[in-house]
C-alpha cells in the first residue's frame, strides 16, 4: 500500500510538471499577442513596453520565465496580466461556489442515475427499461449549454420561478439553493443519463454471476437478491467513474455551466482567463484542475482495491 502510494504520488508530480510545461509551451511558442504591450496599456510608448518587459521578466530566457512563473504560483504571489489581481486568491475565492455546484449536482445525478439504472436493469427488456434508455440517451446527447439556455428562458423569464444567475453564499441557505437549482439540473442531466446506462449494464453482468444464483437458490426474495447481492457489486464501476468525473468538476471543469449561470467559481474564472489569454491565470487554473484529476485518480484506484478485494494495488496501476 505504502509503495503503491509513493509510486502514484511521484507519478502525479511528474504528470503535473509535464502539464505545466505543456501549457507554458502552448502559450509561449505560439505567441498570440505580446503580453507586455497589453499590460502597458493602449497608448504605450516603446520605452514603456520595454520597461514592462523587463519588470515582468519577459526578456529572460524561457526556462527562467517558467521557473519564475512556477515559483509565483506556489508562493501564492502570482498576478494576472489583465486586472492585476492575485490569481491564487481568486481561485480560492471561487472554490465555495464551484464546490456547491458540483456537490449538489453530484447528489442529483447519483440519485437519479442509480435509481433509473436499477429500475432499468430489474425490468430489463420491458417498457420501463426502454423508456428509461431513451431518456438516458437524450440526456447524454444534450449540449449542456442548450439545456441551460432553455431552463434559463422558461424558469427565470417566462415564469419567474428562480433568480437568473449569480452565486449566493451558503450563509443564506434558501437563497443559495434557489440560485443553484437550475445549474444543478443542467449539470446533472448528462451524468445521470450516463450513470444509469453504466449501472444497468453492470447489473446485467452481475446478475449472471454464480453467487447470485446461489443467493436465489437459498430462497432469498428477489428484492433482497437485487439490493444486497446485485446492486452492491454493480456499483463498483459507478463509484470509480464518479471519482474521475467529480475530480474533473471540482477542479473547475464545469466551465460552461459556470459561465452560463454566472457562478463565480473556478470554471468561470478559467473561461475569463482563456478569453483574455491571461497566461498566469491559465497556468494556475490548469494546474489546479489537473491536481484534482490526478488526486481523484489515485482515490479511485484505492477505492477500487477496497471495494473489490480481487484487485491488488500495484498491479492495477497501469
Amino acid at each position: 500500500m505504502l509503495r503503491f502510494l509513493v509510486r502514484r504520488i511521484l507519478g502525479a508530480i511528474a504528470v503535473l510538471f509535464a502539464i505545466s510545461v505543456l501549457v507554458f509551451l502552448i502559450f509561449n511558442i505560439v505567441p498570440a499577442t505580446n503580453p507586455a504591450a497589453r499590460i502597458a496599456g493602449k497608448n504605450a510608448t516603446p520605452q514603456l513596453i520595454k520597461n514592462v518587459e523587463h519588470e515582468w521578466g519577459f526578456d529572460k530566457s524561457l526556462p527562467a520565465q517558467y521557473w519564475t512563473q512556477m515559483k509565483l504560483i506556489f508562493t501564492g504571489e502570482v498576478q494576472s496580466y489583465n486586472a492585476h489581481i492575485n490569481v491564487d486568491k481568486r481561485i480560492a475565492e471561487g472554490i465555495p461556489a464551484t464546490a456547491s455546484l458540483c456537490i449538489g449536482a453530484a447528489i442529483i445525478w447519483l440519485s437519479f442515475g442509480i435509481l433509473f439504472g436499477y429500475l432499468s436493469a430489474v425490468r430489463s427488456g420491458g417498457w420501463l427499461d426502454r423508456g428509461l434508455t431513451v431518456l438516458a440517451l437524450i440526456g447524454v446527447s444534450m449540449p449542456v449549454f442548450w439545456l441551460a439556455s432553455i431552463l434559463l428562458y422558461y424558469f427565470t423569464f417566462k415564469i419567474e420561478l428562480f433568480p437568473a444567475s449569480g452565486y449566493e453564499p451558503l450563509s443564506n441557505p434558501a437563497k443559495w439553493a434557489s440560485h443553484l437549482i437550475l445549474p444543478w439540473i443542467s449539470l446533472a442531466v448528462l451524468f445521470a443519463g450516463f450513470y444509469s446506462r453504466v449501472l444497468r449494464s453492470s447489473m446485467l453482468d452481475v446478475m449472471n454471476e454464480d453467487y447470485v444464483r446461489t443467493a436465489r437458490a437459498k430462497g432469498l426474495s428477489q428484492r433482497r437478491v437485487m439490493s444486497k447481492h446485485v446492486l452492491r457489486n454493480s456499483l463498483i464501476p459507478v463509484i470509480t467513474l464518479f471519482g474521475l468525473d467529480f475530480g474533473v468538476l471540482i477542479g473547475g471543469g464545469a466551465i460552461v455551466t459556470e459561465s452560463l449561470f454566472n457562478i463565480e467559481g473556478v470554471g468561470l474564472f478559467t473561461a475569463e482567463a482563456l478569453k483574455q489569454q491571461d497566461f498566469p491565470s491559465i497556468m494556475a487554473v490548469t494546474l489546479f484542475g489537473a491536481f484534482f484529476i490526478v488526486l481523484f485518480n489515485i482515490f479511485v484506484d484505492i477505492a477500487y482495491a477496497y471495494l473489490d478485494p480481487r484487485i491488488r494495488l500495484g498491479t492495477t496501476a497501469a
Binding site: V15, L22, P31, V140, S201, L241, I255, V256
Partner: protein, 380 residues
Amino acid sequence: MSPDSEKPGAAAVPGDPGAAARGTVTGDPELVAEVEGESGGDGRQGGPWAIAWRRLRRNKFALFALGVFLLIVICCLLAPVWADNVAHTGPNTTHTLEKLHEGGEVKEVVEPSGKAIGPQFFSAGGRFFLGADGHLGRDEMVRLLYGGRSSLFIGIVAAIITTILAVVLALLSGFYGGWTDTVISRGMDVIWAFPVVLLSLALGIVLAVGGLELGPIHLKSSSLWIPTLIIGVVYTPYMARPLRGEIFALREKEFIEAAVAQGAGPARIMFLEILPNLMSTIIVFFTLNIANNMLLEAVLSYLGAGVQPPSSSWGTMISEGFEALYSQPILTIIPGTAILLTVLSVNVFGDGLRDALDPKSKVRFEARAGTADPDAIGPV
C-alpha cells in the same frame, strides 16, 4: 488461419448469459440458432460480421437513428441548393434593411428594435424559412444548413484523426511494450490528466488568434481544420487506452505466436493479425466519438475557441442566439435541437452497433473503470 476466427467478442459465445439477459438474444429463436450455428464451426451461418449485421438489421431503432443521421447529413450537403434556389441568399449575407413582401403585407426583416423576423416557412417562398438571426438579418435556415456542414465536418473528420492516431499509438505501445509503451503511455497520461475542455480551449484560443504554422502546414486562424485537429488530438488517449489494453490481451494469443513462428514481421503482425481483431471496438468508438466531437465543437465555438465568425457552425449559432435568449429564444432552440438530434441519432446507432458487434459490452467496461468509455460524456 483467418484472424476473424479468433475474433473475441464479435462472435457471441453460445448461450452467453450476458447477451441473453440484455435481451439481444432472448425470445429470438432464430438468432439463438445462428449463434449456435457459429459455434458449430461449420461456417454455414457466415462469419462474425454477418452475424453482427443480422443482429443490427433486427434493431429497428438503431437503423431508424442511422436513417435520421444520414438525412441530416444529406440536408446539410444540399445547403447550397437551398441557398441558391429557395432562399436566394448566402449564409453570411446580411439583410438588415430589407423588407419582405408577403401577400399584401410588408414586413421588415429586422425591426428597428433589433428584433429579427420569425420563421416564415413557405409563406415568403422559402425565404427566411426559419426567420432571421438577430440584428444582422441573415437567413437562419441557410446558416443552419451551412453550420451543419461545419459541425458535421468537424465531428467526422476529427473522429477519423482520433481513430488513426489512437490505433497507431495503441499498436506501437501494445505490441512493442517496454520503452515504447512507457513513453507513449506517459504522454497519454499527461493529456488524460488535462481537463479536455481546458486543453482544447487553450489550444483553440491560441490558434484562433495566431493561426498554425507547422512545417509545410499553414492554417489560417479561421480555418475549420484548427478546431478539427484540436478535437481529434485531445480525444486520442480516450480511445488509445482501451485499445492498448485489448492489444495486450491479444498479444498472448496463439495466433500471434503462430504468426511469429511463420516469420511474420512486426508490421504484418500489427496490421494484419492484431488490427482486424480490434475492428469491432474501433467501429463502435469511432461512431460514438463523432457524437462527442460535435458536442465539444459546440462548446468550443460557444466559448469563442472553435469555428470563427462569420462562418457558422451550430455552436457559433447557439452562442450568437444566446445573446438574444430572452427576446428570441428560437435562435438558441433551433441550432440546439439540430445538435441534439444529430448527436442523439449517432448515439442510438452507436449503441445498436455495440450490441450487434459486441454483446458482452466489453468495449465499454474494461476491468478498470478508468478505461471505461469516457467518450459517452460530453463536455460540461
